[in-house]
């Protein structure tokens, strides 16, 4: 690997700030990229890595700040401008046309002044690129027939075909098998050896250590550190990524841990793409205890939660509630067997935003309000008014449309609905994501109350602060398996971070 002796900066981004509604995604960020280097952009989800690179790619426009490419000030208003300046980006979610061929996907829009498609010439150029960078895909294959690894090659070839000298890859290894990752790294090294530059967005420490020359760490929209890869370690990076020592005092731990209420054993589940997302996972939840499942999103947490909610089929293994197996294909049965569902995507699977607050509050238990064939709206209103008061939901009234409420109050609706049914088991996925401090604390207190009342809680979260404050036990999930489990008192933030990044070695 080339040793870095920083040459000319190819890209200089100065005090970039970008805000979405009221969320600051990038806060005064500075970034330089040098010729011939592979620069890793490291950070947790939501740290602002992708937003920053989308600004460099012209997909977003920064609110303020400036960008220089090869010393010249640029103002990209669309990817078109970025491509003209040699910037190429492979997004985490591919943008390909499945019904067209590899060649068509690559060459589209690249013919300047040529009316007819010169496929022969395009194919020659493509084959040359393929040989040079070891990216072998059949140019005439339809994209829908390709596995994801090959689709990624098509995306990279799209950028190379346009003669990109600055290549941005957003979490490129998330979809790759280990061998494919090796191939990708070889490609990137060839690319950098030609004097071109790579930005490698990732949160996987071992890969960052392996491929990059330099690491820039982002946390909460800011650059918090910059290191030469040769002068840092996984441990240091893990600490930098989390960014700070824990500031808040943990809540009081569980007073008494009761009987096991939910037992997951040997669970294997596929995700929507048909890839195994949860592998032979076993986990037991006890009454009066909060078990945290830490980990970066996309490591199988969502699939696990969906199994527990009764709407994802398991491939192998079992889920027992007490001595009863959890029935599948029936979210209703899951609710009836005592599982309280606080889903990750509250806007889509948690609430129906166009219904009223009272209707949303009754969603999972509306049968309680039946009066013959109709719903007893008077009883429903009483129920809603009580919950609005109990959970101090800020709303114009029970008849208000849910969409008009703020994120924190929407989460309170879900919380009120779930907790008012006194579930024995609560599965809370990212329960405070996007909430402000006050609302988050409220959610935490309610979950603690439920625990103290004897519920077993599974807290799925990416937020280590939250996990360390709330949980009694911490398990870490990475690529579908539990990397390790530890009591909160014994847990160290370094250890959890390393597990989250897929590093299994024990901390000293």
């Amino acid at each position: 690997m080339s040793v870095i002796s920083p040459k000319k900066p190819v890209v200089e981004m100065h005090s970039i700030t970008k805000t979405f509604l009221d969320v600051v995604a990038n806060n005064n960020v500075d970034l330089r990229l040098y010729e011939g280097e592979i620069c890793a952009l490291l950070g947790e989800n939501g740290a602002g890595k992708t937003t920053l690179m989308n600004i460099l790619f012209g997909y977003y426009t920064a609110d303020s700040g400036q960008i220089l490419v090869r010393g010249e000030k640029v103002a990209f208003s669309s990817p078109h401008d970025a491509i003209e300046n040699g910037v190429g980006m492979v997004h985490q979610h591919f943008s390909l046309v499945p019904s067209q061929t590899v060649l068509e996907n690559i060459v589209v829009g690249s013919f300047r002044g040529k009316f007819f498609l010169d496929t022969a010439a395009a194919k020659r150029k493509l084959l040359e690129l393929q040989n040079r960078f070891g990216l072998h895909v059949d140019p005439d294959a339809f994209v829908w027939t390709l596995p994801v690894g090959s689709q990624q090659k098509v995306e990279i070839l799209k950028a190379l075909y346009r003669d990109a000298s600055i290549l941005i890859l957003d979490e490129p290894t998330a979809v790759l098998a280990p061998l494919e990752t090796k191939e990708l790294f070889a490609t990137l090294r060839t690319f950098a050896a030609e004097g071109r530059s790579v930005v490698f967005i990732s949160h996987k420490l071992n890969e960052v250590m392996e491929i990059s020359d330099r690491v820039v760490v982002l946390a909460r929209g800011k650059v918090v550190a910059e290191r030469k890869t040769s002068e840092t370690s996984e441990k240091e990076l893990a600490n930098l990524m989390v960014g700070h020592e824990l500031t808040k005092q943990p809540y009081s731990p569980s007073r008494k841990t009761g009987a096991p209420l939910l037992q997951v054993s040997g669970l294997t589940v596929k995700n929507d793409k048909g890839v195994v997302a949860v592998k032979d996972l076993s986990l037991t939840l006890h009454a009066g205890e909060i078990t945290a499942l830490a980990g970066v999103s996309g490591n199988g947490q969502k699939e696990l939660a969906e199994v527990l909610f009764g709407f994802r089929e398991l491939l192998q293994g079992s889920v027992m509630i007490g001595d009863q197996p959890l029935p599948f294909g029936s979210p209703k049965a899951a609710i009836e067997s005592g599982i309280g569902r606080i889903p990750e995507d509250r806007m889509t699977t948690g609430l129906i935003l166009d219904l009223t607050v009272e209707e949303n509050l009754a969603l999972e238990n509306h049968t309680k309000f039946k009066k013959g064939w109709t719903i007893d709206y008077r009883a429903l209103r009483r129920h809603a008014e009580k919950l609005i008061e109990d959970f101090s939901i800020k709303t114009a009234g029970p008849g208000a449309i849910a969409r008009t409420l703020s994120g924190g109050n929407l989460q309170k609706i879900i919380l009120a609905r779930v907790l008012s049914a006194s579930p024995r088991i609560i599965v809370a996925a990212q329960p405070t994501r996007g909430l402000d401090v006050g609302a988050a604390e409220y959610v935490h207190r309610r979950i603690l109350e439920a625990r103290d009342a004897g519920s077993a809680v599974l807290l799925i979260s990416e937020d280590l602060d939250e996990i360390f404050m709330l949980s009694d036990r911490i398990a870490v999930m990475f690529e579908g398996v539990i990397m390790g489990m530890v009591g909160r008192r014994e847990a160290s933030i370094e250890q959890i971070s390393l597990w989250m990044s897929g590093v299994k070695e024990k901390c000293a």
């Binding site: 979405f20 969320v23 995604a25 939501g46 602002g48 992708t50 937003t51 790619f57 997909y59 977003y60 669309s78 990817p79 078109h80 401008d81 970025a82 491509i83 003209e84 980006m89 997004h91 943008s95 390909l96 046309v97 499945p98 019904s99 067209q100 068509e104 996907n105 060459v107 589209v108 829009g109 690249s110 013919f111 040529k114 009316f115 007819f116 498609l117 799209k158 346009r162």
Partner: protein, 314 residues
């Protein structure tokens, strides 16, 4: 009966098929271009009517048939640009925008016509296009008269079919159009201006729709009546689906419709005791049956109906 179904009958029927199919081909080609870029233009029925009206009035006042055709194309472009403004630039529902254009055009066509000619006892007429016989070919038995002694707009329509096919599948523009229609994000991230491509496709398609309407008042008939388009725009929408967004297959559907339309006219004359309204239904009925049975396996452009916006999230 044998005397009726003879060669002359056949030549007449084939000729009618070609003529009746022509406005459908114009409309279908226009709609295919728009839909391949991801926009369903339900304004087609109204655009064809406005084309029919504008073409007719222009010719009535200037005496020039080709100026009429040109004016029809221009009005088609204008209305399609309005469609583009609503559905592409503002990102409103394509269904609502398109139906709005059709409603607007229907009212506008009648209004402008009345404004221009008043309400005379018998509607004004123009001297329509006369058939243009192709030397030698028009002398062939049966097919000569049917295929090669037609209006020049008919020849243009049939030439358009391979031209549009080549444009869509063999040129770099076509690839851009199809990519915009299938996955606008993919187009945007390789530097293509999605909304510009969609606007241009709507405009080009609108020109063809306008000409298709003008054919009805300048060749097929020689006057303007409010029911002159008579649902042909909707038939074009069906033909696009029937033809699986392929110009050649879509034109095949248009020919089938033209054949049935020509046939029902003749059957009206033969079986005059049966109410003619029943025969009028035949082409539309067969269109529905053909759509229901043959279009199960269609693959519409994946980006159809979806306005394109860059995702504004973190």
């Amino acid at each position: 009966m044998e005397q009726i179904f003879n060669l002359t009958f056949l030549a007449g029927l084939l000729g009618a098929m070609i003529r009746m199919a022509t406005p459908i081909i114009f409309g279908t080609m226009g709609e295919i271009i728009a839909e391949r870029s991801g926009v369903l233009n339900l304004g087609i029925e109204g655009i064809m009517l406005m084309g029919a009206m504008t073409g007719f009035l222009t010719t009535l006042h200037t005496g020039s048939l080709w100026l009429g055709v040109l004016a029809a194309a221009l009005v088609g472009i204008l209305l399609s640009l309005l469609m583009a403004f609503l559905s592409v630039i503002l990102g409103l529902s394509q269904h609502v925008s398109g139906l709005g254009i059709t409603l607007l055009s229907t009212g506008l066509a009648m209004f402008i016509y009345r404004l221009s000619v008043g309400s005379p006892v018998s509607p004004p007429t123009v001297k329509p296009f006369s058939p243009l016989a192709i030397p030698l070919l028009s002398n062939l038995p049966v097919v000569g008269k049917a295929f090669f002694n037609q209006y020049s707009l008919v020849y243009i329509a049939f030439l358009l079919i391979p031209i549009i096919w080549v444009l869509l599948f063999k040129t770099s523009w076509g690839l851009v159009i199809r990519t915009v229609g299938e996955n606008p994000l993919a187009a945007d991230t390789v530097g293509i201006n999605v909304n510009l491509v969609r606007t241009l496709c709507l405009a080009a398609g609108g020109a063809l729709m306008g000409i298709g309407g003008a054919f009805l008042t300048l060749a097929h008939q020689n006057m303007f009546l409010i029911e002159v388009v008579g649902g042909r725009g909707w038939v074009c929408i069906a033909m696009v689906i029937f033809g699986n967004w392929n110009p050649i297959k879509g034109a095949g559907g248009a020919l089938l419709f033209g054949f049935l339309d020509g046939l029902q006219l003749r059957l009206q004359g033969i079986w005059y005791k049966i109410p003619f309204h029943l025969f009028l239904v035949i082409p539309y009925l067969i269109t529905i049956i053909a759509l229901a049975t043959m279009s199960r396996r269609t693959a519409s452009p994946a980006g159809l109906l979806k306005p394109y916006r860059r995702e504004e999230k973190g």
